[in-house]
C-alpha cells in the first residue's frame, strides 16, 4: 500500500470507510479556490473530529475544516489540502434551554433549523450573517461573521458564551459555559471565535438567545450624500433604539434589486433604518426619525421591508466566483466618507453598516483586474490612515495573489506564536489565515 493509502486507512478506522470520500470526482465538489483535497471526512461526533485531527497531525496530512462551505471564498489562497473535515453530520442540537435563553448545538447545525426551534418559543438567535440561514453555527463561530442587527445585539464573539473545540493533538476541550457571566479562567472562546479554523475545530457552540421583537420596521431616507454623515451620526448617538443602520449608494440599490418608494438620483444615498420593538415605541421612533431627516422619510410596507432586511443582510455576499467584495472596518465617523470614496470609483457599489463601522464594496463585473487592484490599494490606504483595516473578502485567485487578503496585520508574531502553541505542526487551516508568506 502507498503511504497515502495507509494514512487514509487510519482515518477510516476512526470514522468508518463509508464516511471517508476519496473518489476524485466526489472530492472535486469540495475544492477550495482550485485546490483539490486528497480526501473528505464526514465525522459524526466531536470525538471523531478530535480523532481525525490527531491522526492527520501525526501523519502530516493538512486539514481544512468546513461548515456549509458558504464562506470558503474568504481567506488567503490555500496551501495543498490533504483532508477536508466536513462538519455536516456533527449537527445535533445538544440543549435548547429556552428559560435561560441559551441554545447549545453542534457545529454543523444550520442557523435555519435553530432559528425555527427558537422561534417556536418566541425567541431567536440574534445572528444574521450573509450567506443565508443555511450557514452553520460552527461556520458562523469560525468566521465571526455578523449581519445588520449586530449593531443592536453584537457579533458572534459577543453572543457565543461556550465552545467545545477539538485541538490538533486530539484533545477535546471546553471553553466558557452556559452563563453570560463567567470569569473562571481565560476566555479561550474569544481566541477560537473568528480564528477561521486555524487553531482547532469548533465542535459545539452555546449562544445567547433573545426574545423575538414584536415588530420590525424599515424606514428609508433618500438624502444628499453630504448629509449622510450628520444624520447617521445623530441616529447613532440618539436614545432611539435603532437596530440596524445601513447606507447604500445607487449602484448598491440596483445590485440589491430593491424597488424603493424614493427617487434615487446619482448623488443620492439611501439610509436604511431598521427598527425592532413594540408598537408604542415604534410609532415615536418613526416620528422622531422623520423629523430628523427633514421629512424625506418613507416607511417600507411589509413586503418591501422584508426584502430590504434580506437584501442588506446578503449585500456582502459575492454574486459569483469571480466577484470582488471588499470590507473596510473603520471608526464609525469615517463610514460616510468611505462610501463617498467608493462611489467615486467607476460603478462600484457600496453598502455600509454604519453602527459597526463596516463598509462593503465591489466593482461592476466588467472592471479590469488592474483597475480593481488600484482601487483596492486606494481604499486600503484610506482605511489605514484612519486606523481602520481592509479585508478582501472575495476575489478571483489571481487577484488574491497580487493583493493581500488580510493586509498588514498588527501583532502577527504573537498570532503565529499562538498558532504554534495550539497547532505545533501547522497542520490545520491550510494557510488561509495569518499564515507565513509562501
Amino acid at each position: 500500500m502507498s503511504a497515502l493509502a495507509d494514512k487514509l486507512h487510519s482515518l477510516e478506522d476512526i470514522i468508518g470507510p463509508a464516511s471517508l470520500i476519496t473518489d476524485t470526482e466526489a472530492v472535486a465538489s469540495y475544492r477550495v479556490e482550485g485546490q483539490q483535497p486528497l480526501a473528505v471526512a464526514l465525522p459524526q461526533s466531536p470525538a471523531q473530529v478530535a480523532g481525525l485531527l490527531r491522526q492527520a497531525s501525526q501523519d502530516g496530512l493538512s486539514v481544512l475544516i468546513r461548515g456549509a462551505g458558504h464562506h470558503l471564498h474568504l481567506g488567503a489562497p490555500p496551501t495543498p489540502i490533504g483532508l477536508v473535515v466536513a462538519m455536516d453530520r456533527v449537527r445535533q442540537t445538544v440543549e435548547y434551554d429556552a428559560e435561560n435563553l441559551t441554545i447549545t448545538a453542534q457545529a454543523g447545525a444550520s442557523l435555519e433549523e435553530l432559528q425555527r426551534l427558537a422561534g417556536e418559543r418566541g425567541q431567536m438567535l440574534p445572528l444574521d450573517p450573509p450567506g443565508g440561514d443555511r450557514a452553520t453555527l460552527g461556520g458562523i463561530a469560525a468566521t465571526n461573521l455578523a449581519g445588520p442587527i449586530r449593531m443592536r445585539y453584537g457579533s458572534p464573539r459577543d453572543l457565543i458564551i461556550g465552545l467545545r473545540v477539538a485541538l490538533a493533538d486530539g484533545a477535546l476541550i471546553k471553553a466558557g459555559g452556559k452563563t453570560v457571566k463567567n470569569v473562571a479562567g481565560y476566555e479561550l472562546g474569544k481566541l477560537f471565535v473568528g480564528s477561521f479554523g486555524t487553531l482547532g475545530a469548533i465542535c459545539e457552540v452555546t449562544v445567547r438567545l433573545t426574545p423575538k421583537p414584536e415588530r420590525r420596521a424599515m424606514l428609508v431616507l433618500a438624502m444628499n450624500s453630504a448629509e449622510v454623515k450628520e444624520v447617521t451620526g445623530e441616529l447613532l448617538r440618539s436614545r432611539l433604539e435603532v437596530a440596524s443602520l445601513g447606507i447604500a449608494n445607487p449602484a448598491a440599490v440596483e445590485r440589491m434589486r430593491l424597488s424603493l418608494p424614493v427617487t434615487i438620483a446619482p448623488d443620492v444615498r439611501v439610509v436604511f433604518i431598521g427598527l425592532m420593538g413594540d408598537g408604542a415605541a415604534m410609532a415615536r421612533q418613526e416620528e422622531e426619525i422623520a423629523a430628523l431627516s427633514g421629512g424625506a422619510c418613507a416607511r417600507l410596507n411589509e413586503a418591501q421591508g422584508r426584502d430590504a432586511w434580506q437584501a442588506l443582510r446578503e449585500a456582502p455576499y459575492p454574486d459569483d466566483a469571480n466577484a470582488v467584495v471588499v470590507r473596510a472596518a473603520l471608526p464609525i465617523s469615517h463610514v460616510a466618507e468611505a462610501v463617498e470614496l467608493v462611489t467615486q470609483f467607476e460603478g462600484w457599489w457600496s453598502v455600509a453598516r454604519a453602527g459597526d463601522g463596516l463598509v462593503y464594496a465591489g466593482p461592476p463585473p466588467d472592471t479590469t483586474v488592474r483597475t480593481t487592484l488600484e482601487r483596492l490599494t486606494e481604499l486600503r490606504k484610506f482605511a489605514g490612515q484612519r486606523s481602520g483595516a481592509v479585508v478582501l473578502e472575495a476575489a478571483p485567485l489571481e487577484m488574491k495573489r497580487s493583493f493581500s487578503v488580510w493586509g498588514q496585520v498588527q501583532n502577527l508574531d504573537l498570532f503565529r506564536a499562538l498558532k504554534d502553541a495550539y497547532d505545533p505542526t501547522g497542520n490545520i487551516g491550510c494557510g488561509r489565515y495569518l499564515s507565513r508568506p509562501q
Binding site: 435561560n100 481565560y186 479561550l188 408604542a280 502553541a421
Partner: protein, 464 residues
Amino acid sequence: MDRRVIRSLTRIVGRQNVLTKPADLLLYSYDSSTTEGRPDAVVFPESTEGVARIVKLCAEGRISFVPRGAGTNLSGGSVPLQGGVVIVLSRMNRVLEIDAENLRAVVQPGVVNLDLQNVLAPHGLQFCPDPASQKVSTVGGNVAENAGGPHCLKYGVTVNHVTGLTVVMPSGEVRSFGGKALDPPGYDLVGVLIGSEGTLGIVAEMVLRLSPLPDDAQTVLAIFDTLEAAGESVSRIIAEGMMPAALEIMDRQTIEAVEASFPSGLPLDVEAVLLIELDGLRESLDRQAARCAEICRELKAREVSVGRTPEEREKLWSARRSAFGATARISPAMLVNDATVPRTKIPEVLREIQEIERRHGLRIAKIFHAGDGNLHSNILFERGNRDDFRRAEEATAEIFRACAEAGGTITGEHGVGAEKVQFMSLLYSPEDIEAQRKLKAVFDPRGLANPDKVLPEATRAGAQ
C-alpha cells in the same frame, strides 16, 4: 529585595513613588478578599512608559510583578503571593479622550468607573459595565476581571464594551491590540486579555465602546414571603419576552442587615425583595412595568411599588445599594463569593445553600443578580475565630460544588485570583486547563506576571 533593583525603580518613577518600608508594604499586602501576601516593593508609575520600564526591569531580574488598581478585588487577585513588585496604577487616572463621534473613550487604567460615568453623562453617553464597586473600582480593574454588575443580562459584561487595549507585555514590550474600529484582522486578543487578571500583561490604556444613555427607566420593587416566589417572578418576566436591565433579589439576612444599618422601611418578616429595573424607550416602559408588577402580585407579592421619577427610583434602589456595606457592618469578616448558575437553577441551588448554612451553623446573606444567575452568598464569620473561618471555607467549597453541578461556574465576575484556583478542576478537565496554560505560556513564558493566579500548578500529567 536587591538594593540595586530598588535604586533602578527609584530612577524610573522617582523616590516619592516607591515604597519599601515594612509599614507601607503591609498596606499593599491585602485586597478586599481574605488573601494576604507581602510585596518587596510598591511602585506608582504615571505613564505607560513608566510601567514598561518597571516590567522590563522585573523581566531582566526574574522578579514577579502584580498590577493593582483600587484594591477592591474579591478573589486575592491583586495580592502578591511570591513577593516581588506591586505596580499600582491608580495615578494613571486620566480620561485621555472622549470621542463622542465614534462612541469611544480612551482612558488610563486608574480611572474610577463612576468618575468616568460622570464625565460621560453630559454627552448623553455611558460605559455600560457598572459593577457594584463602581464608586471605587477602576476601569483597569474592571477590564482585568471582565467585571459584570447588575446589568449584564441585557447589556453584557466588560468584554462586550472594550475595542482596544495598549498592553505592557511581561517582557516589558508595549503592544496595542484593536482600536476604535471593530474587527481588526487577527485573533481576538482584546477578548482574551480582558479578564486575564493581570497574568498576561498589564493594561496601560483602553479604548472603550460607549453607548447612549437609555431614554428612560422605571423600577419595580416587590416584597415576597418566599424566595421561590421571587425567583418564579423573574422566570415569568423573562418568559414573556421582557428583558429588564436589572433583576436583583435580596434575602432575609441581607434585608435585616440593611434595616439595622441604613433603615429604608422594608418589613423585617419577609423572605425576599425583588428589584426590577426596566430601561429603554419611554413608551414601552409603562406597559412593561405594569406587567411586571402584575406578575409579582399573581405570585402573591405582599407589596409592589413602582418608581417612575429618578427620586422614586433611587429610593427603591437605596436598600440594594447599601446591602454589601450593611452586611459588612454587622460582620466585618465575611467570605464573598460569586458563583453563577443558569438562572432557572437558582431555586435548586438556593435550597442547597440553605442546607449548607444550617449544616455549618453559619449565617449566609444572599444577594443575587437574578437575571443572570449570579449569586452572592456572603458568608459571615467572626474575625480571628479559626474554627469559624474554617467552616466558612468549607461552606464556600460546597457552594462551588453545588453551582458547578448545576451547570454553572465558580466565578461570574470576581475572578479566580488566588482563592478559587483550587476549584478550577470543578469546571475544567486537565486537558481544558492545559489549553489555557498554552495561552499563558505564549504571553508570559517566564511566569512573572501575577504568578500563582487563575490556573492551578501544572500537575505531572498536565505538564509539558
